[in-house]
């Protein structure tokens, strides 16, 4: 049991914080999965347009790991398969039936699961198409069933801006969460580490895992930061990570024999009104989520949080690993003499105090880049928001130089882009640090394959 206190980092004070209550939204008509969004995976479709598909049945598999199949997040008719450039499958959309057919399997009692053997759990995760919920580090990709992870990590804390409050969500689902943890704990010879927020909470009753606490600003809730502080990833180590809400999905599958893709999703950001937590599901249609909640017409809708999410549209769907929709207003406002203008905390948000005003209330960010890309001037803004014993500047330079050996020595295998996303936010040179880290990882992946 470790008690982690994070000092470096920053909680972005962005307007449109979702209300701390779970509401219902109008019923969904479509759900979707984006096969090309999974990294280092070669998707091969198993369905055709117009076919019927049951909830939880496989949509496609990975040619490199044929056992790993992606479940359909809904039962109904396959409405559309969208191809992108070079025939990559960008999106598979399912139109939901009012009575969804659901694939059913054996059920287990809540106290039975921890007694199962590793092979039994693994077989079940494969036949129920649950493996895509498990990601492995290094590389932050879908886990390989052939590998036995050193440890498994679950973060039950969200610190990303506008993301769901996991304590609010999980306290209603402790049985399912525990069932999922029991199943996952069988998959490793090491430990199952669960990190929760400091202070008394429902989580203290969790068993069959190692509980850790974390406190501090974003990115304290990122599982990568927690792994770094609990047991860092050494070269040749493989650890698995699972999102807390996905642990519940796995747990529900063991308990009920069916895939229940329910997910609590937040809608928030400066471009929303009445943002809140909503009962929704995996790959839900964004239109349903944001209906009547948009403020103004010129908005960028992001599937995921504002730091790491993907640009989407009202017609889009939630990403597989997203549990949040952020809406940021577009702005093309060019302020006169912006570089000398002293500005005010109302018009400029600065992490470095360059605008010399302490911001107290929430700030209405826009999609403005607030500057153009420039060569690096290392004034220490990256280091101030990266709570890891990693030298971001040197690592960045190693990636630019394509020096794989140095990248690995400097700890690139411990990171994925979300861990350094705040560096990009803070960077005065407007460099995409997280994206650069991913470039480095791509290079290493290509080199090892």
């Amino acid at each position: 049991m470790a008690s982690i206190t994070i000092k470096k980092g920053h909680n972005i004070k962005i307007a449109g914080t979702p209300k701390r209550q779970i509401e219902e939204h109008s019923s969904l008509s479509t759900v979707a999965v984006h096969p090309s969004s999974f990294r280092y995976v070669k998707p091969k479709l198993m369905v055709k347009e117009g076919e019927k598909i049951g909830l939880g049945e496989p949509l496609f598999f990975d040619k490199l790991m044929p056992e790993v199949k992606w479940p359909s997040p809904g039962g109904g008719t396959l409405q559309e398969i969208r191809y992108g450039p070079r025939r990559v499958v960008e999106k598979v959309t399912v139109a939901l039936d009012s009575e969804e057919e659901t694939m059913a399997e054996k059920t287990y009692g809540a106290d039975e699961i921890f007694g199962l053997g590793r092979d039994e759990v693994k077989k079940r995760l494969i036949t129920s198409n649950l493996f895509p919920f498990i990601r492995r580090r290094p590389f932050g990709k879908v886990a390989n069933p052939e590998e036995t992870p050193r440890d498994i990590f679950v973060s039950a804390v969200n610190t990303a801006p506008l993301s769901p409050d996991l304590e609010l969500i999980l306290k209603e689902q402790m049985v399912q969460f525990q069932a999922g943890l029991d199943a996952l704990s069988r998959m490793t010879d090491g430990s199952l580490h669960v990190t929760v927020g400091k202070g008394p909470s429902a989580f203290q009753e969790l068993k069959n895992c190692k509980l850790h606490t974390v406190a501090g600003p974003h990115p304290a809730g990122n599982v990568g930061i927690q792994i770094h502080h609990v047991a860092p990833i050494a070269p040749n180590d493989v650890v698995w990570t699972v999102d807390a809400q996905h642990v519940c999905i796995i747990g529900r599958n063991f308990l009920t024999g069916k895939l229940d893709p329910s997910l609590i999703v937040t809608v928030g950001g400066p471009g929303t009104v009445n943002g809140s937590h909503f009962h929704s599901r995996l790959g839900a249609s964004i239109q349903t989520l944001v209906k009547d909640r948009l403020n103004g017409s010129e908005n960028r809708i992001v599937s995921g949080d504002v730091l790491t999410g993907r640009s989407s549209s009202e017609e889009g769907h939630l990403g597989f690993y997203s549990d949040c929709v952020s809406v940021v207003p577009k702005s093309e406002k060019r302020s006169f003499l912006g570089m000398i203008h002293p500005g005010s905390p109302k018009t400029h948000y600065s992490l470095t105090n360059a605008y010399l005003g302490r911001r107290m209330s929430d700030f209405g960010f826009t999609t403005l880049n607030n500057g153009s890309e420039r060569p690096l001037v290392p004034i220490g803004s990256w280091e101030a928001v990266l709570p890891m014993d990693i030298l971001p500047n040197e690592l960045y330079r190693a990636v630019v130089a394509e020096d794989i050996d140095l990248m690995e020595k400097l700890g690139i295998l411990e990171c994925v882009e979300e861990d350094l996303a705040l560096c990009s936010f803070a960077c005065p040179s407007k460099v995409d640090v997280g994206g650069m880290i991913r470039q480095g990882l791509d290079l290493i992946w290509a080199d090892s394959a």
Partner: protein
């Protein structure tokens, strides 16, 4: 404002791809973004960005230098009045000083901007704003009466050979402003050293700087020498306030500290470098004080707190050592880098009889060694990380 925006919009097509002045696009872009902040949008990755950009960072450094300019102008007038034996008011002193340094500023910015615009046009990238800081620093580290052609040659040397040949902002090894000063110092030593250039007086007027007084004597106590000096008031307090001869911006430590405050509040300069340099200077000076009985060198007797207010040490530490590109890039490295600058400043001042001022060379020397410091800090980081895996 709308009028300006209209003009910019109307001439833009000429600079766009295929336009008649396409090659000069960087010049247009630079002009446009001086007046109006850019409307560039975030793409993927973080969809929101902090408001601080390099333009803002650079302009804040320039703002931090303004107090030094204001005091510098007053001081030039004050010293001139003293040399002529007349009395003048503050405003007159300031105007006299401004008359002296305005040409310096104009020539520096003109020659700096010329090179800074030429290179992006040839290399086809956007103009970086760091030349604003370089050009704002150069007049402050020059003597007030330096011939203007020397200023132009020095600025050109600093910008081109100190920065652009390495690839421009972010890639340079040496601080361009200091490179400019070092060039003028070694190329035209008569105009940059000695006792005659630091205060404007009648022909042949000469006044020793605080550092050259103990340098010229042997077996003497430096504080006694300084307080016995009558031409200028070299008490600690007056050296701190700044009514002493020297380069334009380096004399008033109060104004430098004001600038330092702004740079630290806005987190633009590294406090580690600043504190390191001051500690290095104080420590080395204290050590030399202990050694002074065994030597005839009077420089060794300068007390640590005198070192702090003499010469250009504080100006160099606050505005030049903290330059993020040419200094150490790691936090630990910044400590070592700062301490070494303080140490070398005292060593060069005290032990090298040719250069009574040492901070310029100390910073340039440490610029050269900063990558080596970082190399060892990185090695230490790799080693520490390895040790953690073993657990």
């Amino acid at each position: 404002m709308k009028f300006l925006s209209k003009i910019l919009k109307s001439v833009k097509p000429k600079f766009d791809e295929g336009g008649r002045l396409e090659r000069l696009y960087p010049v247009f872009e630079a002009t446009e973004t001086i007046f109006f902040s850019t409307d560039e949008q975030t793409s993927k990755g973080p969809h929101i960005r902090d408001s601080v950009d390099i333009k803002r960072v650079m302009i804040l450094v320039v703002i931090a230098l303004i107090p030094c300019y204001l005091f510098g102008a007053i001081n030039i007038g004050y010293l001139n009045a003293q040399a002529l034996g007349i009395s003048r008011g503050w405003v007159e002193n300031f105007l006299f000083g401004m008359k002296q340094i305005s040409p310096l500023i104009i020539v520096t910015f003109a020659s700096g901007a010329f090179w800074e615009l030429l290179f992006p046009v040839i290399r086809k990238h956007e103009v970086t704003e760091s030349f604003l800081v370089t050009c704002a620093l150069i007049p402050l580290v020059m003597p007030p009466e330096l011939p203007l052609w020397m200023v132009a040659v020095g600025t050109s040397f600093g910008v081109v050979l100190g920065k652009e040949v390495f690839g421009g902002t972010g890639m340079n090894i040496f601080n361009p402003a200091l490179t400019a000063r070092a060039f003028v110092y070694f190329a035209y030593p008569v105009a940059m050293s000695g006792d005659k250039v630091w205060a404007i007086g009648p022909d042949g007027y000469s006044g020793a700087t605080a550092l050259s007084i103990p340098a010229a004597a042997t077996n003497a106590d430096s504080v006694a020498l300084l307080s016995a000096f009558t031409q200028f008031d070299y008490s600690w307090w007056n050296m701190f306030v700044g009514f002493i001869p020297g380069s334009v911006g380096e004399t008033s430590k109060i104004m430098i500290l004001l600038g330092a405050g702004l740079l630290l509040i806005t987190k633009i300069a590294s406090w580690r470098t600043m504190v390191g340099a001051v500690l290095g200077l104080l420590g080395t000076a204290a050590l030399f004080n202990l050694l002074s009985p065994y030597s005839s060198n009077s420089m060794l007797t300068i007390p640590p707190h005198y070192h702090l207010v003499m010469g250009g040490f504080l100006f160099g530490t606050v505005f030049m050592a903290t330059e993020p590109v040419t200094g150490a890039h790691t936090d630990r490295g910044r400590w070592i880098y700062g301490i070494m600058i303080g140490f070398l400043t005292v060593v060069i001042r005290s032990i090298n009889p040719a250069y009574p001022e040492g901070v310029m060379l100390a910073i340039l020397l440490m610029n050269a060694f900063a990558p080596v410091i970082d190399y060892f800090v990185v090695k230490g980081n790799i080693k520490r990380r390895k040790a953690r895996y073993a657990q």
